[in-house]
């Protein structure tokens, strides 16, 4: 333990803290990803015939070497790892037992996720991971159980250094299929090495004690035993498994870096971070959008974030007050175009966008508690800036 602490008090910690501070300064810049998913991520690009990128956005100059390692890993899986995992599965026949081990390994790698959430300016994600780590290490008996997730409702925020680099704008570099370790890229290889410094297990392995190696091996075999058949099915569905795996890796990592999947399903995002507009679809369909009916508690907890961009907020969740309507649009990209000017006129007030099934309207929320004169003043300012169709409304 003392060994570990002395390693941690190295210049690495200073660099890490510098990066955290640097990232926090940049934090508002990175807020747009959720919105971009909605506006661009699934737009007409799908239907553009030029959109085909041969390697799924991943260049592969080492293809011939990578294919050799891919075939090696394929055989390693079928000849060694799968039989070993099946033997292991026979010993720990109860899947729940193996899931507990899996929980413990996941819990042990929490520092990686906490560090990388911080590096990406995801304060809530980092807090959620830290809380999970503390709860599961104590109440969850060294992480074997997962009360943080099941009882406390904390959500994962799975970040690693490859994703952190990606969020800073570092590209994949090129594709690498490592023997034993499998698909990666230049960027993610750097990420994996960096993350090993935040992984307690890798310190134990590095110390040369056999226990560390045994645990590393156990971690992999336990993981494989829970996923036997997944690789087989994926391979079975493909024409060229090497290309299929490379493309799947590129797509999966891209979605992790941009948090597209998180944005689409709420997966991996702490509840507080989720935009209020994402109410379950059933209630969207039957929503009676009359202001101030019943406000679900989840929506209430949403703080109005960074006023520098158009925020998608729930109409029903707003405090009673005035709202200066700027426009109603079917195509949200129209809002994007006008956003900057409206933000400038709004001078720090919340520029809000309300999403309905097939149109959205946006405008400026007059700060809570301000009187009608204030709202009219805001409207006058907007008119002077060239927005002719404004209207003051109450909610």
């Amino acid at each position: 333990m003392r060994n570990l602490l002395s390693k941690l008090s190295s210049p690495g910690v200073a660099i890490f803290l510098a990066l955290v501070v640097f990232r926090l300064l940049l934090a508002p810049v990175g807020m747009a990803s959720e919105e971009d998913f909605f506006e661009d991520g699934w737009g007409d690009e799908d239907f553009s015939v030029q959109a085909s990128v041969a390697n799924g956005g991943m260049v592969d100059p080492l293809e011939s070497l990578n294919r050799v390692f891919f075939n090696f890993n394929d055989r390693l899986y079928f000849w060694v790892l799968k039989p070993v995992a099946q033997g292991y599965k026979a010993v720990f026949a109860d899947e729940d037992v193996r899931l507990c081990f899996s929980n413990a390994f996941h819990n042990l790698s929490s520092p990686i996720r906490i560090v990388n959430n911080l590096l990406q300016g995801k304060i809530i994600g980092a807090g959620s991971e830290l809380a999970s780590f503390l709860i599961n290490s104590t109440l969850g008996i060294a992480g074997l159980a997962d009360p943080a997730h099941k009882e406390f409702g904390l959500l994962d925020s799975d970040e690693d250094f490859g994703q952190t680099l990606g969020s800073y704008g570092v590209g994949n570099g090129f594709y690498i299929c490592w023997p034993f370790l499998g698909p990666s890229s230049l960027r993610d290889t750097v990420g994996t090495v960096a993350d090993s410094f935040a992984d307690p297990l890798s310190y134990w392995t590095a110390s040369g004690e056999s226990g560390g190696y045994a645990l590393q091996g156990g971690k992999q075999v336990n993981k494989i035993s829970l996923h036997i058949g997944k690789y087989e099915r994926f391979k079975d569905a493909s024409f060229d498994p090497y290309v299929a795996v490379r493309d799947a890796y590129a797509q999966h990592r891209h979605s992790r870096v941009t948090d597209e999947v998180d944005a689409a399903s709420g997966y991996g995002v702490s509840r507080l971070e989720r935009p209020a507009e994402e109410i379950p679809a059933t209630s969207v369909a039957n929503a009676q959008p009359v202001p101030q009916v019943v406000t679900p508690p989840v929506q209430k907890s949403v703080e109005l974030p960074v006023p520098a961009t158009v925020s998608k907020v729930s109409w029903d969740a707003m405090q009673p007050g005035f709202f200066v309507l700027v426009g109603v649009y079917r195509d949200p990209s129209n809002i994007k175009q006008q956003r900057e000017r409206v933000v400038r006129v709004g001078k720090g007030a919340l520029v809000a966008r309300y999403q309905r099934a097939d149109y959205s309207f946006f405008g400026v929320e007059v700060p809570v508690g301000a009187d009608f004169a204030k709202a009219k003043q805001m409207e006058q300012d907007l008119r002077r800036a060239g927005f002719a169709e404004t209207m003051v409304v109450m909610h």
């Binding site: 899931l99 024409f239 493309d247 999966h252 999947v261 689409a264 309905r356 009187d371």
Partner: protein
């Protein structure tokens, strides 16, 4: 001042009510045919057939249910758009007969590959979460839950003749159509279009003989 405020308030409320009633009508009429309800309907119907007819969720589903399930899938998936997206720029270089043939083969391939997956169904729950609609396209997100492990599955749909049809499925961030597109592009580059058709036919023949 006070009077002006009251007047303005009332006008605003009247306008807003009109606006919301109108919006309300629109969403009510759209509710029966909204994308989430439609995908969920298809998925639930298929899972119901599997649950009712696979005792203890063990063994294989009897072949008599195959057609019923396949019909449900064909009603909800737009294999033509999927083929178009999977071939990307090559779609326009082939004749319309070749296009029809390709759609038939690609649909058959997906049918064979994914139908067998139903046999390994072990009581996973499918939870539909949100939908987002933009013009004639929609994204419906769901998670498949097994042993506390959540796998995010996102459907992309397109509105066509009062129905929402799936044209892509994205599992853990990996788009099915895009994955095939990359593979097809790499095959066409090396073996040209006839080479791809041969690969498709061979794979389908292999699936049929394995059955």
């Amino acid at each position: 001042m006070n009077l002006q405020r009251i007047v303005w308030g009332n006008v605003a409320i009247a306008l807003l009510s009109f606006f919301f009633v109108f919006a309300g009508l629109q969403t009510v009429s759209a509710a029966a045919s909204d994308p989430l309800t439609q995908v969920k309907g298809s998925v639930d119907s298929i899972l119901q057939i599997v649950q009712d007819n696979k005792p203890e969720l063990q063994g294989k589903l009897a072949d008599s249910f195959r057609q019923e399930i396949i019909d449900l899938v064909y009603d909800r998936f737009d294999f033509r758009v999927m083929s178009q997206l999977a071939l990307a720029r090559n779609w326009k270089t082939i004749s319309s007969q070749e296009q029809d043939h390709f759609v038939f083969l690609f649909a058959k391939l997906l049918e064979n590959t994914y139908y067998d997956r139903l046999n390994s169904y072990a009581g996973e729950q499918v939870i539909f979460k949100t939908q987002r609609i933009q013009k004639n396209k929609a994204v419906v997100s769901s998670v498949v839950v097994r042993n506390d492990t959540e796998t995010p599955v996102v459907y992309k749909l397109r509105h066509k003749d009062n129905d929402w049809l799936v044209y892509d499925v994205i599992i853990e961030g990996v788009s099915l159509v895009r994955n095939y597109r990359t593979q097809f592009a790499s095959i066409i580059e090396k073996e040209k279009y006839p080479g791809l058709i041969k690969r498709l036919e061979d794979k389908i023949a292999k699936n049929e003989s394995d059955k």
